[in-house]
Symmetry: C2
Subunit: 324 residues, 2 copies
Amino acid sequence: MNIDMIDAAAGRLAGKARKTPLLSSPFLDEIAGRRVLVKSECLQHTGSFKFRGGWAAVSLLDPDTRAKGVIAFSSGNHAQGVAYAAQQHGVPSVIIMPKDAPQLKIDNTRALGAEVVLYDRETEDRREIGAKMSEERGLTLIKPFDDPVVIAGQGTIGLEIAEQAGEMGIEEADVLVPCGGGGMTSGIALALEARAPKMTVRPCEPEGFDDAKRSLLSGKIEYNAHTTGSICDAIMTPSVGDITFPILQRLCGAGIVVSDGECLNAMAQAFLRLKIVIEPGGAAALAAALSHASELTSETVIVVASGGNVDPDMYVRALQGLSV
Amino acid sequence: MNIDMIDAAAGRLAGKARKTPLLSSPFLDEIAGRRVLVKSECLQHTGSFKFRGGWAAVSLLDPDTRAKGVIAFSSGNHAQGVAYAAQQHGVPSVIIMPKDAPQLKIDNTRALGAEVVLYDRETEDRREIGAKMSEERGLTLIKPFDDPVVIAGQGTIGLEIAEQAGEMGIEEADVLVPCGGGGMTSGIALALEARAPKMTVRPCEPEGFDDAKRSLLSGKIEYNAHTTGSICDAIMTPSVGDITFPILQRLCGAGIVVSDGECLNAMAQAFLRLKIVIEPGGAAALAAALSHASELTSETVIVVASGGNVDPDMYVRALQGLSV
């Protein structure tokens, strides 16, 4: 994995992915006690950064292989990203999703042309199901994070952060990234290593799913005890990957762990101050910026708001915490 | 008023206002039966397009005049735009707001450094109050819409629409704009006359506040019977202005009138499909695109989502209409 792969992915994504804005508000700066810049990937196609990795992977397949279709397993955002990338390429997609994924993500994935197969997180192994269907139909598996091409696609966020912050004269920053399997986190870290080497990526995780933080401390891949139990469905991954972990280990600063309540508050602040909709997992990094100031060191914090696919009920819960 | 004034405003706004994204979703295209592009001015500084006009006006004052401070009257978005523009210039601002403006807008205006004076919409004349305070303190009145410099500032949205749509190969479109006093509508119409002459601006108004539509039909400035009674607080203006009306008359297509329910639905669709927060008045144009397809003629409709400063309670009301 190197910067050339990320630049190549950026070339394939040009005119296809949105260059999302780097938003800010004096009100958020005041809460965080420093300058806060929010890379708003919730405004990406399909409502999350996952479209980047999906497009990067589907666009690189040779045409005959691509024509047979692709398959993915995902709690929802990768699902939509791959489904939309496949639809835009005119090829079929099969998406394997947990039964307890937000209904909105399941509905959207179907509406983007995918065949959706539901499984039980506690009793079934999605990797097994995916491998079996891939073989039967000649589908190409698009992994959610532990794949160099997908990592390169997500890494294009890092290229844009370096460019957009650079235009503002910012070279040093803590860059907070919601971390599940580490695809986006490692991709951004690789991009910034090359283009903004004074920035430090910090993985952000929900309580009970802090495997990345623990893995960085212990020096080996650690696992989470549970697979459910946070509202941050997008980043409740069992562990980081074999490809992502060494990159995280080489390039990232310490992980930051946030509570569900801190994520709900960050969602509400994004509503009030930035006018963007973010989902619980997508708010983990903003939650870290707003509620864990003592763990940050730079004068500027850049936060990735990674997705906005949240059911209305959960969003109402976030807004009810506001006292306006 | 001409395009040179808008270009000059764009020069002063460069690096100060955000170039807001033109968002889209296949789900919205399906509802509208045509391509829908959403100019997301809710992502502008202070959460609405009004920052453009505020900055355009404050930045053009001579330094001695500016140092004495500025004054504005507004239901909230112009208030915040002027307050923030003044704060960024390091000069004082006084903002005269109706007592029934959303609490969020009042609080934000104060937090942006303004002195807020509240008045009663039904019994007091805000113009009178404004003129008196301007005189007493040597403040310069920044009008909300009927001022060539403010119109030019809002018109920079039109320059960006022409450029962003042009990059997508789009020359013809209905351009739907929420219309109160007509500052933004006339500014965009002037910009498009010069830069995208095949586009037609259509003012969008709430039921009971359709003075622009009626004025275009009768050929003279018509007034609304009431000053309250819609959830679209941002565009409940008594009439269009003496400067804005001739521009609207020369350049705009027929007005479109939307119901409060259609605006709430548009807010919910923007939440679901675009991940942007829009307020009721800011949703009037999107409501027209989604619910008044039969009144549109072009294959592409460009919608201005003009602001996102909505109280959480009203937003929850919009989301409760969703069946997900």
